[in-house]
C-alpha cells in the first residue's frame, strides 16, 4: 500500500498534463489564496475595529466560536442549492466552494487580529495618544505593527485550514488536489487517494513556510526581541 502510494507519487505521468498533480496544485492554490484574501478583507478590518475600540468584543468572540462549529460540507451543499439556479458556468460551483473556505478562514484571522490589537501595551497606547496621535495614527503606527505577529499567525492557521478543506471543491466537480481523493475513491484507487492526501499536506506545509518568511520580513525585529527575552 505504502509502496503503491510512492509509486503513484513518483510516476512522472501523474505530475504533468491537464489533470496532473502540478496543474491540480495550481488550481488548489488559486482557490486557497482567493479564499484567504476574501476572508482577510472581511476579518482584518473588523478585527482592527473591535481591537481598537474594544466594542462588540463579545460578538466577535461568540461569532468566532460559532463559525468554527459550522460543518463545511453542509454549508457547501446549501450554498450550491441556493446559488446554482442564480449563477452561470464555473461560478455556480466555484462560488459555493469559496464561501465555505471563507467562512472557515474568518475566525482565526478575526481572533488573531483583535487579540493582537488588544494586546498592545496600554502604556504605549497612552503615550501615543498623549504625544498627539489621532485614533487612526495610533492604529496604523502603534497597534497594527504590534499586532502583526498575531495577525500573521491568524492568517497562517487560516491558510492551513483552507488548503486542507479546499479538497471539498472536488465534490462539486471542480479541480484542485481534492480530485485525486474523490476520483480515487470512485475508482477504488487507494494509492491515488493516499498520494493526493500527501500532496495536500505537502502543499499546506510549503505555503506555511512561505508565509513564515513573509511574517519574518513584515514583523519588526524589535518584537522578536521582546518575545525572545
Amino acid at each position: 500500500m505504502i509502496g503503491q502510494t510512492f509509486q503513484w507519487l513518483l510516476d512522472p505521468a501523474n505530475w504533468t498534463g491537464q489533470g496532473g498533480i502540478l496543474a491540480q496544485s495550481l488550481a488548489h492554490l488559486r482557490y486557497s489564496f482567493l479564499a484567504l484574501l476574501a476572508a482577510a478583507a472581511v476579518a482584518v478590518p473588523i478585527g482592527l475595529w473591535v481591537g481598537h475600540t474594544g466594542r462588540l468584543r463579545w460578538l466577535a468572540v461568540n461569532l468566532t466560536g460559532a463559525f468554527r462549529a459550522i460543518p463545511s460540507l453542509g454549508v457547501l451543499f446549501i450554498a450550491v442549492l441556493l446559488l446554482l439556479p442564480r449563477l452561470r458556468g464555473e461560478w455556480a460551483y466555484e462560488a459555493p466552494a469559496l464561501i465555505v473556505l471563507v467562512l472557515l478562514a474568518i475566525p482565526p484571522i478575526l481572533s488573531g487580529t483583535y487579540a493582537g490589537v488588544q494586546a498592545t501595551d496600554p502604556a504605549a497606547r497612552d503615550a501615543a495618544r498623549g504625544m498627539g496621535m489621532t485614533g487612526a495614527q495610533v492604529l496604523r503606527q502603534v497597534e497594527v505593527p504590534g499586532a502583526l505577529p498575531l495577525i500573521m499567525s491568524g492568517l497562517r492557521s487560516a491558510m492551513l485550514q483552507i488548503i486542507g478543506t479546499a479538497t471539498i471543491a472536488a465534490i462539486v466537480g471542480l479541480g484542485g488536489l481534492g480530485r485525486f481523493l474523490i476520483d480515487g475513491q470512485a475508482s477504488r484507487d487507494y494509492a491515488m487517494m493516499a498520494g493526493g492526501s500527501i500532496a495536500v499536506a505537502a502543499l499546506a506545509l510549503l505555503v506555511d513556510q512561505v508565509l513564515a518568511l513573509v511574517q519574518r520580513a513584515a514583523v519588526s525585529p524589535g518584537l522578536r526581541h521582546a518575545s525572545a527575552g
Binding site: 501595551d121 502604556a123 504605549a124 497606547r125 497612552d126 503615550a127 501615543a128 495618544r129 498623549g130 504625544m131 498627539g132 496621535m133 489621532t134 495614527q137 503606527q141 502603534v142 505593527p145 504590534g146 502583526l148 514583523v219 519588526s220 525585529p221 524589535g222 518584537l223 526581541h225 521582546a226 527575552g229
Partner: protein, 367 residues
Amino acid sequence: MIRFEDVTKRYADGTVAVDDLSLEVPRGGITVLVGPSGCGKTTSLRMINRMVEPTSGRILLEGEDISQRPAAQLRRHIGYVIQHAGLFPHRTVLANVMTVPRLLGWDRGKARAAAIEAIEKVGLTQDQAKRYPAQLSGGQQQRVGVARALAGDPTVVLMDEPFSAVDPIVRGDLQAEVRRLQQDLGITIVMVTHDIDEALTLGDKIAVMGYGGHLAQFASPAELLAEPADDFVADFVGKDRGYRALSFAAPDVAVRPERTVRVGENVAAGSGWVLVADDEGMPQGWVDVAGWGGPVPAEKVRRFGTVAEAGASARTLLDAALSSPSGRGVVVEDGHLVGTVTADQVLAAMRREGHVATPPGSPEEAP
C-alpha cells in the same frame, strides 16, 4: 503660565476625582503634584494635555483656553512622560524619539536631527539609538521616554510618576538628569508623584492634594516643611520633616581652619584626631593619634565620611560632622580644603538665624 480655574472632574458614577482646583503653575521650574493614590493628581496632570476633560472650569496655557485647541494638536506641543515609558516596541530608539517631530510635520532629516539631539541630551549613545526598547534596561527605557518627550521642543513637559518603576539608584540618577535638563532648557515641568521625598527633592513648587481631589497646600518645599497648612499635609510630609527641613536651610557657619598632615609626617603623641591630606592638600582621611607618636602610617588613615561643599545646606553640613570619626565635618570648595565644622556649630548658627527655636533654659539662650 498653566492656570487651573475652578477645575472639577466628576465621573458618571458620581466620584469626584478633582474638586474645584485653582492653581497657577509658574513658568520654568518643576511643579510637583503629590498626594496619596486616588487624590486626583494624575487626573489633574492629564487634564493639561486634554487626555481627561474637566467636568467644569477651565485650564489656560499661556493665557489661552486649551479646550479651544484640537486635542491632538495641543498634545504635540506638550511633552508627555509616563511611568512605564510606553515606548513602541516595534520601533528603534531613534524612531521612537522621532515620533513627535514627525507628527509635527517636520521632514525626515530635521526630525532625525532633533531626535539625535534629544537622545544625546538624556545621556544615551548613538549606538543605543539603533536598538529596540526590549534591548534596554528599565532606566534606559525611561531615558528614551524623556528624550521622546523633548524631541519636539516643547515648553511644557508633563511627567506622570516617571521614576517609580525604576530602582532607587537609577531613580536618583534620573532625578538629577531631569533637574539638569529643566535648567538647561528652561522648560516647565509638571510632575506627578506619590513619593514626598521625590517631591521635596525635585519640586520648586509642590501641590499637595488630599482625598476627594482637593488641593491641600501649594507652596515651596521649605514652606511646606516649615508651615504645613493642616494636619493632613503635616502627616503627609512625614514624621521626620524636621530633618528634611534641614535641606532647605543654609546657615552661615564659620568654618574653622584645620591643620593637615601627610602620610609619613611626624605627629606628636596625644594630638587626638588629625586630618591627613595628600600632596595637593586634598583631605584623605582622619588618623587617631592617641597613645603613639611619630610618622603617620597609611594604614591608620580612616575615611572621613561625607564631605560638605562650602555653602551647603544644614543637612549636608550636619551629616559631614556626624559621619566624621573626629566629630568635625570636612568642608571643601572646588576640591580644596576649607576647614571643618562641628554639629554644635551648625546648630548654633541655625539658632542664631532663627531656623531653630532656642528652648528656655538652654545655655545658648543669651540674655
